[in-house]
């Protein structure tokens, strides 16, 4: 477990949150499982009734709570079960990316993907792609800052 603890560069293994639409990505993950496809255990999935359920607050909260990367996986554009949920999710993801850039966490840690329920291999590919990206970017700067502050606190430094 020590290996997976975020915020420690030397043994960094990312925590990635995937907000997955029930009608596509969630089913695709199921299919990936049935096909016995391997994808990194760094990805933690959260089922959503639609990618359009994702709110900017939710995306920011994931990072605040320590996620190193976050992605939203919705249906192919034009194929949303609720017509436009995935288009709205894309806009929100882009808005949240800008906030993360301004804050210094980095918008690159957040991404929107589109796939269908039959794309099990693509689901595994996305999980690999995102894990590689976050491994390259390193831990969430918030985790690093908190860890540094905790270390300083232990040493008796006032800040």
């Amino acid at each position: 477990m020590e290996k997976r603890e975020s915020g420690k560069t030397e043994s960094f293994y990312p925590k990635i949150i995937a907000f997955c639409c029930y009608y596509c990505a969630y089913s695709a993950a199921d299919l990936a499982g049935s096909l016995r496809l391997q994808y990194p255990p760094a990805v933690r999935m959260i089922e959503q009734p639609c990618s359009g359920k994702v709110d900017i607050r939710l995306l920011l909260q994931a990072f605040e709570d320590g996620a190193d990367g976050v992605y939203v996986a919705g249906c192919m554009e034009g194929d949303c079960h609720f017509l436009k949920g995935n288009i709205r999710a894309k806009k929100r993801v882009n808005a949240a990316k800008k906030i993360l850039d301004k804050v210094g966490v980095g918008g690159e840690r957040l991404e929107m993907f589109n796939l269908s329920g039959s794309m099990g291999p693509r689901f595994a590919e996305i999980a690999n792609e995102m894990t590689e990206r976050i491994l390259r970017l390193g831990p969430n700067p918030l985790n690093t800052a908190r860890a540094e502050r905790a270390t300083k606190g232990e040493e008796g430094d006032p800040k």
Partner: protein
């Protein structure tokens, strides 16, 4: 509705310098409708500030609250019990709300998170336009429901200026208000109303007369 937009993160951070615990207060009124200062925007701003300050090495604690309205004493008073240990209030209301909080809590430092823009309407989701200049003497009955005071860049009251070209204003690429007025009057068969010359407008009823106050004795509860 009062339309407002968020200040830049830099400006808000500057106004929160030296503060370590901030009460972030949203407003459920107009700014909620124009998606600038409602519960959702309050959450986003508070989260953004916490993350930014954490990375600046100066962590910020926030308490979030969204009032039904910030321009009514009965709602504002609900904040009184949340002020303990608070260094400052960051208000996501229009200028009225910010001032009202400052008046109601004289011992607390209050700063705005929004720039208040205008009295307007939602044209479509994500697009708001100015529609009323709050001039204190409505002329819409003479202009077919199109306001020349606020929709004409020069607030002309007796027809367009020479800068009206092909129905467009020379100041901004908007429709010329007087073109809109003429079109509407023509459609309604009331163009002759435009022949009536409007006299000088009494601007003392507008902002030119200083801050305004309205009193209605019939609805006062006490006194």
């Amino acid at each position: 509705m009062i339309v407002a937009e968020a200040k830049t993160l830099e400006e808000i951070l500057e106004s929160l310098q030296g503060m370590s615990k901030v009460l972030v207060v949203g407003c459920g009124g107009c700014v909620s409708v124009c998606l600038a200062g409602g519960e959702k925007e309050t959450g986003i701003l508070a989260s953004t500030l916490r993350m930014k300050r954490e990375l600046m090495g100066d962590p910020l604690e926030t308490v979030e609250e969204t009032l039904t309205r910030q321009c009514d004493p009965e709602y504002v008073q609900q904040l009184a019990k949340k002020l303990e240990g608070i260094d400052c209030i960051l208000s996501l209301a229009c200028g009225v709300g910010v001032q009202f909080l400052a008046e109601q809590f004289p011992q607390t430092w209050v700063v705005p998170a929004l720039n208040t823009l205008f009295a307007g309407a939602t044209m479509e989701h994500g697009l708001w336009e100015e529609r009323c200049g709050l001039c204190g003497e409505c002329v819409l009955a003479r202009t077919g429901g199109v306001c020349p005071v606020i929709r004409c860049a020069k607030s002309l009251l007796n027809g367009p200026c020479g800068g009206s070209q092909n129905g467009k204003c020379e100041v901004k690429p908007n429709e010329c208000a007087w073109q809109l007025i003429y079109n509407r009057m023509s459609e309604l068969g009331r163009v002759e109303l435009l022949l009536e010359v409007a006299g000088a407008k009494d601007w003392s009823k507008s902002r030119d007369g200083g801050p305004r106050k309205m009193v209605r004795e019939d609805v006062k509860i006490d006194g």
